[in-house]
């Protein structure tokens, strides 16, 4: 087992719902959005951990929480980075952490400042962390980072603006900016979903090669099980703020045990002609995280609910080594 770099225990992110003036006056109970509602997982060195689920399940919020990008008041639980508690770090420790943990966003059209050149964008983290010894050193580091991100020859890119680049190239610039601080942990939030299929594989391969070369660990956030399948060592399926199944990607994706994971796997397009394969398509959409259903939060949409599912919430139970699911049927 690779040494652990990130450990999350009972993480909760509850956002207060903005109430109207009158509700505030009348002293009505404040509603909260339970975006993440008690999840635990850990990521080993050089490991890709995929967090899979539909929109609104809390996967992006989890990604932001582990990078300390949320209002501290909303976050509770424990997040340990190399054994240090993120929620209790001193300012100097925090600065170190910010160097070592970076994020790649979904939309390279929005995450890059349109008025800065590639050089400006990629070198900015160096300025913030005062890492460049000289202008020459800065140039050298930017070039190395661009090269690492597969933008070669680097001088072709330095003075260009984001609008002069394709979607794939922009995402590489975002990756170069993340790499320049030599991070050990990257949160990649749907890094290829805005890109055309023919360039997706390049970006994913780049992520894997960086992992192999620098032992970078990833929290890979995606709604696409097929991407988790080709990339992840471990995978967790999230539903309405909870992890319902987690384990080695092989087990979770090829032999899912939770009815929700099973339904997600079944609806994946297959590049097969319309066969008469029976499949369960869940009705409706996930409920609002302000009013989470009682008991198992999946029970209103579950194709095979039991009476007790309405009352008791199932915990994650170990099925086989490292493969856990939360369902009363198991």
């Amino acid at each position: 087992m690779a040494p652990e770099i990130l450990r999350v225990e009972e993480l909760k992110v509850h956002f207060p719902l903005r109430s109207s003036f009158l509700q505030g006056k009348s002293g009505a109970v404040k509603k909260v959005v339970r975006a993440v509602d008690g999840i635990s997982f850990s990521i080993g060195e050089g490991e890709v951990f995929a967090l899979v689920g539909e929109s609104g399940c809390g996967k992006t919020t989890t990604g932001k929480a582990v990078l300390d990008l949320l209002e501290p008041d909303c976050v509770s639980g424990k997040i340990e980075f190399f054994g240090q508690d993120l929620l209790r770090m001193k300012a100097t420790e925090m600065k170190q952490f910010r160097r070592r943990a970076q994020m790649i966003f979904q939309d390279p059209y929005q995450s890059l400042n349109p008025r800065e050149t590639v050089y400006d964008i990629v070198s900015e983290p160096l300025a913030i962390h005062r890492l460049a010894k000289s202008e020459a050193d800065r140039r050298e580091r930017v070039a190395a980072s661009l090269e690492n991100a597969g933008l070669k020859p680097t001088e072709d890119y330095l003075d260009r603006y984001p609008h002069e680049l394709s979607g794939g190239q922009r995402q590489r610039v975002a990756i170069a900016a993340a790499l320049i601080l030599e991070p050990l942990f990257l949160v990649a939030d749907e890094p290829v979903s805005m890109l055309d299929v023919s360039v997706r594989a390049d970006i994913l391969k780049l992520m894997v090669s960086l992992r192999d070369r620098y032992r970078i660990s990833y929290l890979f956030i995606t709604h696409d099980l097929a991407l988790a399948w080709v990339l992840a060592d471990h995978a967790a399926i999230m539903y309405l703020g909870k992890i319902v199944e987690v384990g080695p990607a092989e087990a979770v994706i090829q032999k899912p045990r939770h009815p929700y994971s099973q339904a997600l796997v079944e609806v994946m397009p297959r590049s097969e002609p319309r066969a008469a394969r029976p499949r369960v398509i869940l009705r409706g959409e996930a409920p609002n995280p302000v009013q989470i259903p009682s008991g198992c939060r999946f029970h209103p949409r579950c194709p095979i609910p039991l009476p007790r599912c309405k009352e008791d919430e199932p915990a994650l139970e170990e099925l086989e080594s490292g493969h856990r699911a939360a369902c009363w049927r198991l």
Binding site: E54, S55, S166, D196, V197, S198, V199, R200, A201, D202, L204, K205, V208, H223, D224, L225, A226, L227, W229, V230, I253, Q254, A263, L264, V265, V267, M268, P269, R270, S271, E272, P273, R274, R279, I281, L282, R283, E285
Partner: protein, 315 residues
């Protein structure tokens, strides 16, 4: 006679940089009740080709030549009045972003009723009733005719768009990436709904997508487009099992599958050509893994390789 017969369609856009030949000699047919997929990467001309069928191009777009025969009559010769009656009544379209396609300050019921009343001489009240029935048909509650678009979730809005596209019982529905930006589960729900409606109402369909793998659930045939042209067209089984054009093969491989190995396919090197100056010969030859000498000189013709299966490749 096929329901729709598109012959040698050429469409261009005038841009600051020059003329962009977005669709460059596209021909295909669509039979009654049939479902055809148009697949390709962004910029391959699939949406332009589909919008041309309704003559709905943006102001800088122009249909330069070709024929669009609908039940034998050329849509390109229609008068404004004929076109008004033709659009939505004969061919309707489900747009990609439902939030942009719906009017945000009008109740959805009124929007659907308006579409009905443009084409049928019915009273406001009857049109309202029809709108309600249509919402129920797409598995939404009828009382939601009084809701505004922002009160629906993304998947529900796409259902409203489908209800609207069906309002006048068209013979052909065009789906322009109708499930992009929706979750997989909602995508499956939408495709299942579209399929059952299509069978029930006997409509033909043209589904535009960049994701070949979704066509398996919904299409009889598919056409793969590259740089403004169809490079392969055939039954969906053939395209999945034995695709002939190297681009079709590359595209199919680009989608990781749960059934497949965990290795990642190679991406297609290079980028699609800009359509102002297209490469000579086969447009795919600079990126083709199987390129031959002839490919940079002569443009391959779309030739029949099997029953209803045609490929444009020298290989």
């Amino acid at each position: 006679m096929p329901l729709l017969d598109v012959q040698d369609l050429h469409v261009s856009f005038s841009m600051r940089q020059g003329m962009v030949r977005a669709v460059d000699g596209v021909s295909f047919t669509l039979e009654e009740g049939e479902s055809l997929g148009l697949v390709g990467e962004s910029g391959c001309g699939k949406t332009t080709a589909a919008l041309s069928l309704l003559r709905l191009l943006p102001p800088n777009g122009r249909i330069d030549s070709g024929k669009i025969l609908y039940q034998g009559r050329d849509v390109l010769t229609f008068t404004a009045e004929e076109l008004r009656r033709f659009r939505w009544k004969e061919i309707s379209i489900i747009f990609q972003g439902a939030m942009n396609a719906l009017n945000p300050v009008q109740r959805v019921g009124d929007q659907i009723a308006e579409a009905i009343r443009l084409h049928q001489p019915v009273s406001e009240k009857d049109a309202g009733k029809q709108a309600q029935a249509l919402l129920e048909r797409v598995e939404l509650e009828g009382r939601r005719v009084n809701d505004y678009p922002h009160e629906f979730s993304g998947g529900q809005r796409q259902r409203v768009m489908i209800a609207m596209a069906l309002a006048c019982r068209p013979r052909i529905v065009i789906g322009d990436e109708p499930t992009t930006a929706l979750d997989v589960m909602v995508q499956a729900q939408i495709f299942e709904l579209v399929e059952s409606l299509r069978k029930e109402l006997g409509m033909a369909m043209i589904l535009i997508t960049h994701d070949l793998s979704v066509l398996g659930d919904t299409c009889d045939r598919a056409a793969v487009m590259y740089a403004g042209q169809i490079v392969e067209i055939g039954p969906i089984e053939t395209l999945f099992q034995t695709p002939c054009h190297p681009y079709a093969r590359c595209l199919l491989r680009s989608f990781p599958r749960l059934q497949g190995s965990r290795s990642m396919a190679d991406s297609i090197p290079g980028t699609p050509p800009n359509l102002i100056e297209v490469p000579p010969g086969c447009r795919f030859h600079p990126r083709c893994p199987e390129v031959m000498a002839i490919c940079s000189r002569e443009q391959p013709l779309l030739l029949e390789r099997g029953p209803r299966h045609s490929v444009a490749c020298h290989g």
